[in-house]
């Protein structure tokens, strides 16, 4: 493995880990400003994480390895995703691993570990949250895969870096119906998978409708910090993947020279996407849980149509 490749992977990791809490802070700040509040500032999630990391984790009595292992596995899978996904560069040596199936599998691994941990606590909220999360996951994963097929059908490879490179060479491909439908489907799925409005409200605790917060209710101290960091990283990675797949311009190739610029462009793209999502969240209410399958069925149909049009209109 040569110097530029290592530098690229390091850049991706540093940007994702350092930037993820800032992205969450930015989204909260945008929302606060639009709602007429002053807001806590973009750096607040980092301050929270620092505070939590200094405190020892407390595990409830009766919990086993699933509860203790989940934060580490969650952060671990997020770190692997951050290293292999084509976020800043398409020429990293780990790109061979960034297969669509591998990425979806890693995402599902994180979700399932957290759901198992929530079941392990044996509390009512944990079980409820886990069951809801798995329901959403079961509807989300096929959509991600099918939308991915729509993009990979023309490239002839399910490798994400190959898809991004092909889009770079043929920019008009982004405006094709297949690509637009897949983008719409993936956007909905990303919102559902990362637990944002209208599927889950990330800002509330102790509400009967919560999904993600219900699962992590029993975590405290540094464990909670890890879980929060991993959730923020997953959001960053998914928004980054969305940006790379549909607006790939500015992503770096094999050379080291383009790397700083690519990092800046990546940060700008993800920040713009995050700020847009934060602004939209002001105007939408949370969906009833029983309406969520409707939303996800819609995104599945969009993904299916994307595949259909990528085959038939080509």
């Amino acid at each position: 493995m040569n110097g530029p490749a290592l530098a690229a992977i390091a850049a991706q990791l540093v940007v994702t880990v350092a930037g993820a809490p800032l992205l969450v802070g930015l989204m909260r700040q945008v929302r606060a400003r639009l709602e007429g509040r002053a807001g806590a500032g973009v750096g607040q999630p980092w301050r929270d994480l620092r505070k939590l990391l200094r405190r020892p984790p407390v595990t409830p009595r009766g919990t086993g390895w699933a509860f203790r292992l989940a934060p580490l596995l969650l952060v671990g899978s997020a770190l692997v995703l951050a290293a292999i996904a084509p976020l800043v560069t398409v020429a990293s040596p780990l790109d061979a691993l960034a297969d669509l199936f591998a990425v979806v599998g890693l995402l599902a691994l994180g979700t399932v570990t957290l759901a198992l941990a929530a079941l392990d606590t044996g509390t009512a909220f944990g079980g409820m949250g886990a069951s809801r999360e798995i329901t959403v996951l079961a509807l989300v994963e096929p959509t991600i895969l099918v939308a991915g097929f729509a993009l990979s059908a023309r490239v002839g490879s399910t490798n994400l870096a190959a898809i991004v490179t092909a889009t770079l060479h043929d920019p008009l491909r982004v405006a094709s119906p297949a690509s637009l439908l897949a983008a719409a489907a993936l956007l909905i799925v990303v919102i559902a998978e990362t637990g944002r409005l209208p599927v889950d409200n990330p800002d509330t605790h102790l509400e009967l409708t919560m999904i993600h917060e219900a699962m992590i209710l029993e975590y405290a101290g540094s464990d909670l910090a890890l879980v929060e960091l991993a959730a923020a990283m997953r959001l960053t990675i998914m928004l980054g993947l969305l940006a790379s797949l549909f607006v790939p311009w500015g992503i770096a190739g094999a050379s080291l020279v383009a790397l700083p610029l690519a990092v800046v462009i990546f940060v700008a793209k993800v920040a713009a996407l995050g700020a847009g999502l934060g602004a939209v969240e002001v105007f939408v209410a949370k969906l009833r849980l029983f309406r969520v399958p409707e939303l996800l069925a819609g995104s599945f149909v969009l993904a299916l149509l994307a595949v259909a049009s990528s085959f038939f209109l080509a």
């Binding site: 405006a175 119906p177 819609g298 149909v301 259909a308 209109l313």
Partner: protein
């Protein structure tokens, strides 16, 4: 417009056409349905305009402008006026087929349209005929919306989807129908929507609801 970008623009407009049809099935609220209908009118006009610019026919471009005014302006506005004020009237609360199932049905109908039109596309493969399945899919989805929705306004929207699909099919398969036929069809459509608007208003005045399932018995 260069020849390279022509299929791209056509595909894009056809994509919007199909997406708005799916969106109509997706939504419960009647107001967004009507907005989607207006957007679909724009996409339909865009398809005709793109065909006209590609074939250098002034007539088609003029037809596109007319279609745009009618389908994206007049018809949605008339449907909008038929919309009631009461909150219970502005929602399609319980369609005959629920929303998730109708979305899956829409996907199935789209595939059906692809299968059915394959021989037609094979007759004369060109960028225009290759998006023909989308237009046929819009016809089928419009028909589906027409038969599975209960509110009169939702059924009008379904009917207009159906007609948008038929118009798109005509222009894509045969580069348009004679102008006089197109004018006749457009006036027919306008009259139908006007009649349906009056009917909906009357229904609401008499029954207090525009749920067509209430119309069961005959009265003197």
């Amino acid at each position: 417009m260069t020849d390279i970008s022509y299929p791209q623009f056509l595909d894009l407009a056809a994509g919007v056409l199909l997406l708005t049809a799916i969106g109509v099935l997706w939504r419960h609220q009647l107001a967004p349905m009507i907005r989607l209908l207006g957007l679909q009118g724009v996409a339909l006009a865009a398809i005709v305009a793109i065909l006209g610019i590609h074939e250098h026919k002034l007539e088609l471009i003029l037809v596109a402008i007319g279609l745009g005014v009618l389908r994206a302006g007049v018809l949605p506005w008339l449907t909008w006026r038929a919309l009631g004020d009461s909150p219970a009237e502005t929602r399609e609360t319980r369609p005959v087929v629920n929303v998730s199932a109708s979305l899956l049905a829409a996907a199935a109908l789209t595939f059906l349209a692809y299968v059915v039109t394959r021989p037609l596309v094979a007759l004369a493969p060109s960028p225009a005929t290759s998006v023909l399945p989308v237009a046929v899919a819009v016809v089928l989805i419009g028909f589906f919306a027409l038969v599975t929705r209960r509110r009169a306004v939702a059924q009008v929207v379904g009917f207009l989807l159906l007609d948008n699909g038929i118009t798109a099919t005509a222009f894509l398969a045969a580069a348009g129908v004679p102008l006089i036929v197109e004018l006749g069809v457009s006036f027919d459509l306008l009259l139908v929507v006007l009649v349906l608007q009056v009917l909906t208003t009357r229904m609401r005045a008499v029954f207090g609801s525009s749920d067509l399932d209430e119309l069961r018995g005959l009265h003197d």
